[in-house]
Every structure is written in structure tokens, then in C-alpha cells.
């Protein structure tokens, strides 16, 4: 089956995750960093996790009393996928990505 081309928001998120691939990232911080709205970000995170491109873990929060935070980073497959898709987007001339 032919794989669907990732949306501009997915590419933007992949780019942000690929910038610091070993670092665990949080949902709210990713919305701030990429400008992607929460309503779009979480479905994309879920899809990437479903495809095995994203790993997640629960981390103790820095704030006392707050619940554990869900953190994300790309898997090795995810990193390869992100590099391929971003390179393909640059080739297509759609690298100027916007979160809107």
C-alpha cells in the first residue's frame, strides 16, 4: 500500500523532534516550539506512535504535586523517516512549513 505524504504539521513536528533527537519532549512545549495547535499536535503524535516512529515515557515532573508528564522522542525508524520526509519536502519545494 502506498504511504500517504505527511501533512505540513507532521513535517514541522518531525523537524522539531529531529533537532534534538535524544531529548525527551513534552506536548505543551512542542505546541509552543512549533506553533502547532493542541488539537492537531496530539492526533499527529498518536499516529507517529502507532507507526512505531515515536517512543513515549512517563517522567516525574519538575513541579511538586503535578502528575507525571508524558514525554516523546523519535525512534531510530522515526529519525530515518523524518530525514527522508523532510528531504523529500525540500525537493518538492514545500520546506517552508507553516503550523497553520
Amino acid at each position: 500500500m502506498r504511504q500517504r505524504r505527511p501533512s505540513p504539521q507532521t513535517l514541522l513536528l518531525l523537524g522539531a523532534l529531529l533537532e534534538r533527537p535524544n531529548e525527551w519532549r513534552h506536548g505543551y512545549d512542542l505546541t509552543q516550539e512549533t506553533g502547532i495547535k493542541t488539537g492537531t499536535l496530539y492526533p499527529v503524535l498518536m499516529r507517529l506512535a502507532d507507526q512505531g516512529l515515536l517512543e513515549s515515557a512517563w517522567h516525574e515532573p519538575a513541579r511538586p504535586g503535578a502528575p507525571a508528564r508524558h514525554a516523546y522522542r523519535l525512534t531510530s525508524d522515526g529519525m530515518a523517516f523524518a530525514r527522508d520526509q523532510i528531504a523529500a519536502a525540500i525537493e518538492r519545494g514545500t520546506a517552508g512549513l507553516s503550523p497553520a
Binding site: 506536548g27 505543551y28 495547535k37 493542541t38 488539537g39 492526533p43 502507532d50 515532573p61 508528564r69
Partner: protein
């Protein structure tokens, strides 16, 4: 942000998310505790609700359930039509005016066959209505084996009713329109169900 409207939105998002996505509800709710600004918290929680709604709509089981319910509602409406016909027939048996009978007065043979078959026709409508209600009920509960049995029963009764009708007037022009509707329903419901089942199987296969 630990209380108020944003928390309420996050709780709604949790209720909306399919069961398999519940850990994501915890993930979104936990992020809300990291946001100090009220407006940011509200925007974030609104986004969580939207994300949950998107996931609910995309959920294969939800879509299949909605499809089943749609077909069940159509089957229930058909059942109501059959039961209304049966009720009218019972009223005629107890002396209410029958427009069809009045138009047949000029043809005594036809009128005699019509009068003789009426109790059987009324019984057919009643049985058909009840059988179709059962199909709607089993369909809405995704009980496929019982649905198939009720459906086969309904179609047998419908076939018998058409034969009774044809024994009165042996011409297709005279077959009432409700039998045409039944014929369409008889073809459409299994086709739609088959299509939904195939879609469900394909979607499940596509998911890792």
C-alpha cells in the same frame, strides 16, 4: 492550572477518547498542570477536546457502530410503517372504511379474494413489523447471528406477503409500493452491512 473550565474540557476529552487512547487523555491532562497562563490553559484544553473528537471520529469501532445504528434506524422506520399498515388493517377488520375495497366493488371476484385474504395480509404486516423491529434491535447491539435469523424471518414473511398479494391481483402493477420498498431494503441492508464489515476488516488490518 489545576482547576476550572480547562480541567472540565480535559475531562470531556477523556470521555470522548476511545478506550485504546486513554493514556493520551492522561498525557494531555498532565500537561495542563504545567501551564500558568489561564488563556493558554483554556486554548490547550480546547485543543485537547478537539483532538479527542478527531480520534473518536477516526475510531474504526465508532464508525462501524454509527453505520450499524444508521441501518438499524432505517430498519426500525420500515418496521413502524409495517406496524401502521397492520393497525389500519385491524381497524378495517373491525369495520373501519377501506378505500381500496370501495374501488373494487365493480369487480365482485376480485373483491371476494381481497376480503378472504385480508386477515392473512394483516397478520403478515404485523409479523413483518415485529421481525423488522427485531432486526433493528439486534443490529443496534451488534448481535449479528440473531440479526441474520431475524432478517431471514422478515424476508420469508415479506416473500409470503407478496405471494398473498399476487394471489389477489396477478399483475405487478397492482403490487403495493411497500413491497417495492421491502425489495430495496432486502437488497440494500445486506449490501451495506457487507461493505461496513469489509471496511472494518481493512481498517483493522491497516492498524499496526
Amino acid at each position: 492550572m489545576t482547576s476550572g473550565f480547562p480541567q472540565l474540557l480535559c475531562r470531556l476529552a477523556r470521555r470522548l477518547l476511545p478506550t485504546a487512547r486513554q493514556p493520551w487523555a492522561d498525557a494531555m491532562a498532565a500537561e495542563l498542570y504545567q501551564i500558568d497562563d489561564d488563556r493558554d490553559a483554556l486554548a490547550f484544553a480546547g485543543g485537547c477536546l478537539l483532538a479527542a473528537l478527531r480520534e473518536r471520529i477516526a475510531d474504526v469501532d465508532t464508525r462501524f457502530g454509527a453505520g450499524l445504528w444508521s441501518i438499524a434506524i432505517v430498519a426500525a422506520l420500515c418496521a413502524v410503517i409495517q406496524l401502521v399498515c397492520a393497525a389500519r388493517g385491524v381497524a378495517v377488520l373491525f369495520g373501519a372504511r377501506d378505500g381500496m375495497r370501495a374501488s373494487l366493488v365493480a369487480a365482485p371476484d376480485l373483491l371476494a379474494r381481497y376480503d378472504a385474504a385480508r386477515p392473512l395480509v394483516v397478520a403478515c404486516f404485523l409479523a413483518l413489523g415485529l421481525a423488522q423491529l427485531a432486526t433493528a434491535w439486534f443490529l443496534s447491539r451488534d448481535e449479528m447471528r440473531r440479526f441474520v435469523i431475524a432478517w431471514a424471518l422478515a424476508m420469508t414473511i415479506a416473500g409470503f406477503a407478496v405471494l398473498v398479494q399476487l394471489s389477489i391481483i396477478w399483475q405487478l402493477d397492482g403490487v403495493p409500493s411497500e413491497f417495492h420498498a421491502l425489495l430495496i431494503e432486502a437488497a440494500a441492508v445486506p449490501l451495506l452491512l457487507g461493505w461496513y464489515k469489509r471496511q472494518q476488516a481493512l481498517n483493522r488490518k491497516a492498524k499496526p
